[in-house]
Symmetry: D2
Subunit: 309 residues, 4 copies
């Protein structure tokens, strides 16, 4: 198999301050489908074109942020192997038994040196995307309910120990760097965009003074026209918009950053290019971050480097 | 590494009847960049956003069609392994020495049971996409010269021995089925869309009464607006258009099929969805081929099943 | 006032064979809003962004086709003036009293030499577009219900007496020619695209062997992306598609032609350019009709010249 | 004729501080065609799809800003009539003889109470849009040279005496209000969007403490995708971007505001809706200006109310 091991970001568990307010945002404004609630009170949602049971889990908490990011691996064998490889690398892992998360199999959980909980899993129930597996239409009404991204795409995580985190993600989990932002010294990684596929980023990391921070969780839209539509819907629903619509120079994606009701940033974006592990990474220097972030405005929006959850 | 083994279709060598006429078409109308010619008279071209030396090779011949399709693999070790695995499977392989194709390393060549020459290679010179590896702009003038696809995307090959071909591609080379079209018996594969990545197709196969046929080579455009622009440019340049603009039900892509000056069909397309090997393949039945081919018109254009090179 | 006299096509009354089947098509598939029914059993609909009470009236009949096309004029004074000017030109006119059509004032009705009933009116109730007149959002959910054109745009009418019809429309009603299609002799008008505004066509005429024919009624979409979406929705709802998606060379519009359940052709389109009465008309010769009709395919779809209601 | 009198904004004469620097901007970045220079050193340009000789005139000066805005009227008779009507209204007019501006007939010039020079003219040489008047292609290479707007669309002018200016434009020149922004008192007009056609604005006015100010001159693009492309090209050429890409709530247009090398703001935009004089104007209150200006961000960019030339 050409695509093995870690396949994709499968779920993000996000802490929210007022569960029902943010269920409304993620379900009715962003347009995710609510697919279940569990005995812990967590609310499960999925994007319309995703087939696995859920990709977003909301948990009521006193502090916003990211509980964990889950990545689907191709098989139970890979799950076992990653567990061993992590341990061999000195990373403590924990097995979370199947069922702890609805319709999800065993998860191998560990903490990135940056302070984030990452988990791997091989099994999640295929609930379909609402289209038939036989002679399907290309989309249905769900594709236009709210902003209606087709899938969870990636996240950008922030923390101090970025170098050690990159090492684990690339050496053990098989991610490769697509674009890298360096500090003025040309050596210190400020941020990195990592892929485990042909996407320009399945996970991105940024160096921050605080550990375990969420910069944003990102959702995919099929066109720039859908990005404007997302912005319109955000405005209609009084969603706090941070940056955009604009194009990122980094990864070329067309984007809007906004905040959920608890202050967690999320992105709705489209575009970019197809990346492969044999490609030389694109290198950005910190003085070009303004156009890397907002290619049109070439503006270093202060919130980008200062606002996290 | 999550993406290993076969990475992508790297080049298609296409036979043309009047070399200069088709160089004009691929270079000036399709908008590929001419990157070299070799001592055999072959002309090498690449799409603007590709970084490897070439993706299309044109060869003057008495008969149109596909000489070979090359796939890039992630490493020389993989190249060796695939060579052994193919041989172990009873597939005769041939080493084509580095340099036989310009700026390309050793190739392992074999014949698909359907009659097509497939080759694997691990090395091709990175000539860049014309943008800097440091703080690049998202595109440049080359992205608007002619139709200007950003890359070679896939090909659809036709022949009799489709089942044995699928076996080699999936069992040995790691492709997985994304969508499958079955005959009325529900068992006979009429066509299959195979991926070695998260694209909906890196290679597609169709059952035909003749061996070794090329249905089309496909090039990627970034939007449906660019698909119409492609159609406009085809018209401005008297390119023979076969089908489109329309949407395929199969893979959801938005497409135009057209012919080069020698009768080789090519596609300019955009859209589709992101596929993964853990996803259940979409199944089409032959009576739904009309909407599978042309979702808007639901029309079985006769040329689709009868015209090849 | 710079824009006076005839302002725009305000309504088309269309005959349908099975009223409820076509109400479903125009309301639920095309996405017009049903705004009323009258004592004659007629069903009134409007496009989401129109503010006047209705733009489409469906009437059950034994034969499909167009009952009448209504044009809104800027004032009662203009209505009176046009009535006198028509009569002075030898055109018989009829006053249809206010209220015969729901929420519509007096109409001055006459027959075009081509056999179509055209009517002028100055008053129709402003029911709004569902957005506030104060600080409105740019669109609402109605803009995405079904194909959801924003407005009735134009119609193409066919008949024998095209020359005399053009004379009335241009000399008395103030339309001007934007594009003209001539027969091989370079003199006989085969078709003409007339504007009373800056649209490329508010009314188009085509020479046909039968009088009083409807070629199509056309609805405006805001983008080429919406045109594909229209095609998808047509397919999802088994609407018979005639031509497209493609671009017309004539007027540059991007289009799909389809048929309602009774065989009346309608168009969903976008694009074109802004026209003015001081511009020299674009001239097409009949041998270029293929690209005039379908610029990408350059194909004279036979239905274009042979299928009407 | 339904469209008579004032047809459209036909040219803007703009003062620039470094003529060649701004010729480069308007010609090579914005993508207008340079069509001539006159003995006063003025440089004439036109957008690719305009057929009249020019729409932008650049004049070297010590101070940036707008020299004059010219509107084309439908006939010499209208020109004479407007001249008399203006004089009858107490507005001093001046005849500028044909030829003072290249390829342009007599102009009737007057000063708006806001301090801007407005001129009317009936004749300007038709130089074509580079496409044939016979069986034309929908576009050509010029449509992709630089940002390549298809036409000058409108301007926003600022000054103190807005009420008297509105009176002249509506009562004498036939403009009608499409959208109006009122101050907190609900009576004082802060800004108004006026149309002489079916565009949402052919001329807009804003109340400012200084007379004769240019807020921006606006150019039309055919799609939101072209708006992003404009932003990319601005960034590639170090053009100072003010606001956008975003959507205006007012008129619904999708926009980028930027500055030429002299500090004159220009807009590249697309979208909006079709307006008619019988429609009730949309009313905005000043507290909604943030979303009126930037619908996505709902942000009152300070430059909007403070930066002019």
């Amino acid at each position: 198999m050409a695509l093995t091991g870690v396949l994709r970001p499968g779920h993000a568990q996000i802490r929210v301050l007022d569960l029902e307010a943010d269920v409304k945002l993620y379900r009715d404004v962003l347009g995710l489908e609510e697919v279940g609630r569990d005995s812990f009170g967590r609310v499960y949602l999925k994007a319309w074109d995703e087939r696995d049971h859920h990709s977003v889990v909301l948990r009521q908490a006193d502090k916003a942020g990211l509980d964990l990011m889950g990545f689907k691996v191709d098989s139970l064998a890979s799950l076992d192997k990653f567990e061993k490889d992590l341990q061999a690398h000195g990373v403590a892992t924990k097995r979370v038994p199947a069922g702890e998360m609805l319709n999800t199999g065993d998860r191998v959980s560990f903490e990135l040196p940056m302070g984030h909980t990452i988990e791997l899993y091989a099994e999640k129930k295929d609930v379909g995307n609402g289209l038939s597996y036989n002679n399907p239409a290309p989309w249905n009404a769900a594709a236009e309910r709210g902003i209606a991204p087709s899938r969870l795409d990636h996240a950008l995580l922030g923390g101090v120990e970025i170098d050690a985190s990159i090492e684990i993600l690339t050496k053990i989990l098989g991610f490769y760097p697509v674009e890298v932002l360096y500090a003025e010294d040309g050596k210190t990684v400020v941020a990195i965009w990592l892929s485990c596929s042909t996407k320009t980023h399945d996970l991105a990391l940024i160096r921050l003074p605080e550990q375990g921070k969420l910069h944003h969780v990102s959702f995919w839209l099929d066109s720039w026209e859908r990005v404007l539509r997302a912005g319109d819907i955000m405005s209609m629903n009084d969603v706090s918009v941070d940056i955009g619509p604009t194009r990122h120079g980094i990864t070329r994606g067309a984007t809007i950053y906004a905040f959920d009701r608890s202050g967690n940033r999320f992105e709705t974006f489209s575009g970019g290019y197809v990346s492969y592990p044999d490609m030389q990474p694109i290198v950005w220097s910190i003085d070009h971050l303004p156009e890397g972030l907002d290619y049109v405005q070439r503006k270093l929006h202060q919130s980008f480097l200062t606002v996290f959850s």
